[in-house]
């Protein structure tokens, strides 16, 4: 009885305190909006609407947000904001919220936000937009589409794989047969074939057979192995084990988190089997598995978003298409394994310069197949 009355008193004390607190805070709410200025800084406001992954997804959404932070680091007058979408129904309201917040540029992420971004861009022709990894069709010219020629980065990955294989056979596979995926596989095959041609070797590639098509127009034609998903890790493990038994020792999965299945397959196959990670640096993204990564073919979302935001802040922003290349760090290959020799690393540097200058083609059909 005593304890219950004590509890009652304690609760009442909390209630009393909270009533007082709310009375004051509600006073603050009622006070006219003009009285306390919004915490806006005077500079340039850069905003990002992320997809459902949110800003901590260790992938493109995180990279896009990081791009904003990088831009802010370089230019202190930029302030940044983000809104996460919990579903596709949030895209439009999130973008509209930022339009009314008067963001200098709104960055959106991924193909799924294509139509929401295009609608908002058409309705607000003076609002600047940048969209990661997608080219929306708009009537207005205020959207910068951030695209990435990842076949350049994958070319280096292919060369690295060909130079590192012990069995004379490497492999790649994709998530779903769409251009953003096959562009990687295509560049990878080109890199291997280039290695064979230059060093007169016969390293084979499993999983992607390119056929003719104009690469500069985005036609990465060919046939190959696909997991049918970007999340089914079991499928990735099955495919990768299949490649290992077919004689390959290095596999390049282009399938998002399906690639974790490849890592699992390499672990169960044992030392000597390695994975080339895709999109981000595997040793950063999946640090515990770092020893299984030979290297990573990256998509430079941060530098591209950074460039778009910085340009908008400086007033030099122009809509259109941004192509991420080796030169502007829009793509690249990171060597993760310590076993890679300096000779190979130096060769990669030379090839990078060759691709940048256009002397080396990343079209696999330009090289003889083994």
């Amino acid at each position: 009885m005593i304890s219950s009355s004590l509890k009652g008193r304690a609760l009442r004390a909390i209630a009393g305190g909270s009533i007082a607190a709310l009375a004051i805070s509600s006073f603050a709410v009622v006070a006219p909006a003009g009285a306390t200025a919004r915490p806006h800084t005077s500079g340039f406001l850069a905003c990002v609407v992320t997809d459902t992954g949110g800003i901590n997804d260790h992938s493109f959404n995180a990279s896009a947000y990081q791009g904003l932070k990088d831009a802010q680091k370089a230019n202190k007058s930029i302030s940044i904001k983000y809104l996460s979408s919990s579903s596709s129904s949030d895209y439009a309201p999130n973008i509209n919220t930022f339009i009314s917040e008067k963001c200098g540029i709104i960055v959106t992420v991924g193909f799924l936000m294509d139509s929401a971004t295009a609608d908002a861009a058409n309705a607000h022709p003076s609002q600047k937009f940048a969209i990661v990894d997608d080219v929306p069709t708009t009537t207005s010219k205020n959207v910068l589409s951030l695209t990435y020629l990842t076949n350049q980065g994958a070319f280096l990955g292919g060369y690295l794989a060909a130079a590192s294989t012990k069995t004379g056979s490497v492999a790649t596979y994709g998530g779903i047969n769409i251009p953003p995926v096959t562009i990687y596989m295509d560049g990878f095959v080109a890199g291997v074939r280039y290695y064979d041609k230059m060093l007169k070797k016969k390293v084979k590639v499993l999983g992607w057979t390119p056929t003719s098509g104009d690469r500069s127009k985005g036609n990465y034609n060919g046939s190959g192995t696909f997991a049918g998903s970007f999340t089914d890790q079991t499928a990735g493990q099955t495919i990768t084990s299949g490649f290992f038994s077919a004689g390959a020792d290095i596999v390049f999965p282009v399938a998002g988190s399906v690639g974790l299945g490849s890592v699992a397959a390499a672990k169960s196959a044992g030392t000597g089997h390695q994975i080339i990670w895709v999109d981000t640096d595997g040793c950063v993204n999946d640090a515990p598995d770092c020893s299984w990564f030979l290297g990573s073919v990256t998509k430079g979302v941060e530098p591209s978003v950074n460039a778009a935001v910085s340009a908008a802040a400086k007033g030099t922003f122009k809509g259109g298409i941004y192509s991420g290349t080796l030169k502007n760090l829009g793509t690249g290959t990171v060597v993760d394994s310590k076993s890679v020799s300096t000779t190979v690393k130096n060769a990669l540097k030379t090839i990078t310069a060759g691709i940048e200058s256009g002397k080396i083609s990343v079209d696999p059909t330009k090289y003889p197949a083994v």
Partner: protein
């Protein structure tokens, strides 16, 4: 001795003198009676207070001010109230109306339409609330019948799938197309609801388990239809459906050029509210539903066919959930993807809490939906303006529901005598029956 005992003694001794009391005193007594409206109001109030405490404890600038408390105590308190005030002000102006912009619009006639109209916050709140009202009424009718339909989300997804099929792959004039699309949505919900209905009626399988698990089945079914059937947009490999024909879309009430997204789904929701009120309070079948919910054995003894009522309840509840799903597609999204109503966007799950909040009654559910919608929509504005994460809105929603579901706590804190709990008791009884 104890406060309670004195309260009770005081109450009983004062009771006969009631007619002579002043009006204020009677209002105070009414407050002490703990009418559900009072309990809910106090729960919202406490939710906002706790939300304020969370803001103070998690905002870096505020914590910094508190770390200097001993050198500048007034600043710490000022910064705390400033950021809580700014957050709630952003929530209010983002979900209901910005008073200064409203006054500006009234005096100048500018700013009524366009991308950032003064009506945008209200329009967004109503847009968010529309499918929520419909789904919550479906769940509420289930609760009143003693049926725990946790599968409303799956039923809503099924409604969305069938609605998208009809809306995007049949091409007929709007007068036929729109009703047909909405009917397809209702049918989808009914089909998904009949499975647990039949299983419960004829095998005794507990509807909670069956409906929860069916949600997963339906989410994967959604992925399947989007990746492997003709519903997928031609040329797409990302699991995005075809877009609904304009003739199958619920048009925006103020026209597409107004920039206000509130659509004729609102009218559908109002019709559903009126239907539910009539159904539960005036119709014979609604009476049978409620009697079955109150006491299934008595209902059977009185000649009500329990099995039939159970199945019909899933038809009504599932049908409304399906209608909610198709309203979302037809009124707002115009297409579905693999994220449709998945995760935190699952209105069918929110509907359970909203129904609880609204005491399972149509009008209560309308208010509950508006509250949830305003918190969600305002939370977005709060994050955009102040940087305080959107999740705070979810915290406030959760606290409000927790407090409404445990009226004893509210009663203790605010010294209420009564605190009626009928709606909640009825809802929670489903577990044991």
């Amino acid at each position: 001795m104890t406060d309670q005992a004195t309260n009770v003694a005081a109450a009983s001794s004062e009771a006969p003198a009631a007619p002579r009391r002043s009006r204020i005193r009677r209002a105070w007594d009414w407050y002490l009676e703990g009418h559900p409206v009072i309990v809910t109001g106090l729960a919202i109030f406490l939710g906002l207070v706790i939300g304020g405490i969370v803001i103070i404890l998690t905002t870096p600038s505020v914590l910094h001010a508190w770390s200097n408390f001993f050198s500048d105590p007034w600043n710490a308190i000022k910064v705390s109230f400033d950021s809580v005030g700014a957050a709630y002000r952003a929530m209010f102006t983002g979900s209901i109306v910005d008073p200064s912009a409203f006054w500006h619009a009234v005096t100048t006639g500018q700013g009524w339409t366009g991308g950032s109209s003064v009506l945008t916050p209200m329009s967004e709140t109503l847009t968010y609330a529309t499918p929520l009202v419909i789904a919550s009424i479906g769940v509420g009718i289930g609760f009143q019948t003693g049926v725990f339909n946790i599968g409303a989300n799956g039923q809503a997804i099924m409604g969305g799938i069938l609605g998208t099929y009809v809306g995007s792959m049949i091409h007929v004039p709007m007068a036929i197309h729109l009703p047909l699309t909405l009917l397809a949505g209702i049918l989808g919900g009914i089909l998904a609801g009949l499975i647990p209905g039949f299983l419960k009626a004829y095998t005794g399988a507990h509807e909670v388990i069956v409906t929860i698990m069916l949600n997963y089945v339906i989410v994967y079914f959604l992925t399947f239809v989007l990746l492997s059937t003709a519903l997928e947009a031609p040329g797409s490999a990302d699991g995005v459906s075809r877009t609904l024909d304009t003739s199958a879309q619920l048009p925006a009430i103020f026209g597409a050029s107004s920039g206000l997204r509130v659509n004729y789904g609102l009218v559908v929701a109002i019709v559903v509210v009126i239907f539910a009120k009539w159904f539960l309070e005036r119709s014979t079948m609604g009476f049978d539903f409620r009697v079955t919910g109150a006491n299934p054995r008595a209902a059977r003894t009185a000649g009500i066919n329990n099995k039939l009522i159970l199945i019909l309840c899933f038809v009504v509840s599932g049908g409304l959930a399906g209608l909610a799903g198709v309203t979302q597609v037809s009124g707002v999204n115009h297409y579905i993807d693999t994220n449709f109503l998945v995760g935190s966007a699952g209105i069918g799950f929110t509907a359970i809490t909203v129904s609880l909040l609204g005491q399972n009654k149509p009008i209560g559910i309308v208010w509950g939906s508006l509250l949830f919608a305003a918190l969600s929509v305002g939370g977005r504005q709060m994050q955009a303006q102040t940087g305080i994460p959107y999740d705070l809105a979810t915290v406030i929603q959760a606290v409000v529901v927790l407090l409404v579901a445990s009226p004893v706590l509210i009663k203790e804190v605010f010294r209420l005598r009564g605190a009626k709990t009928s709606g909640i008791q009825l809802a929670t009884k489903g577990w044991s029956s």
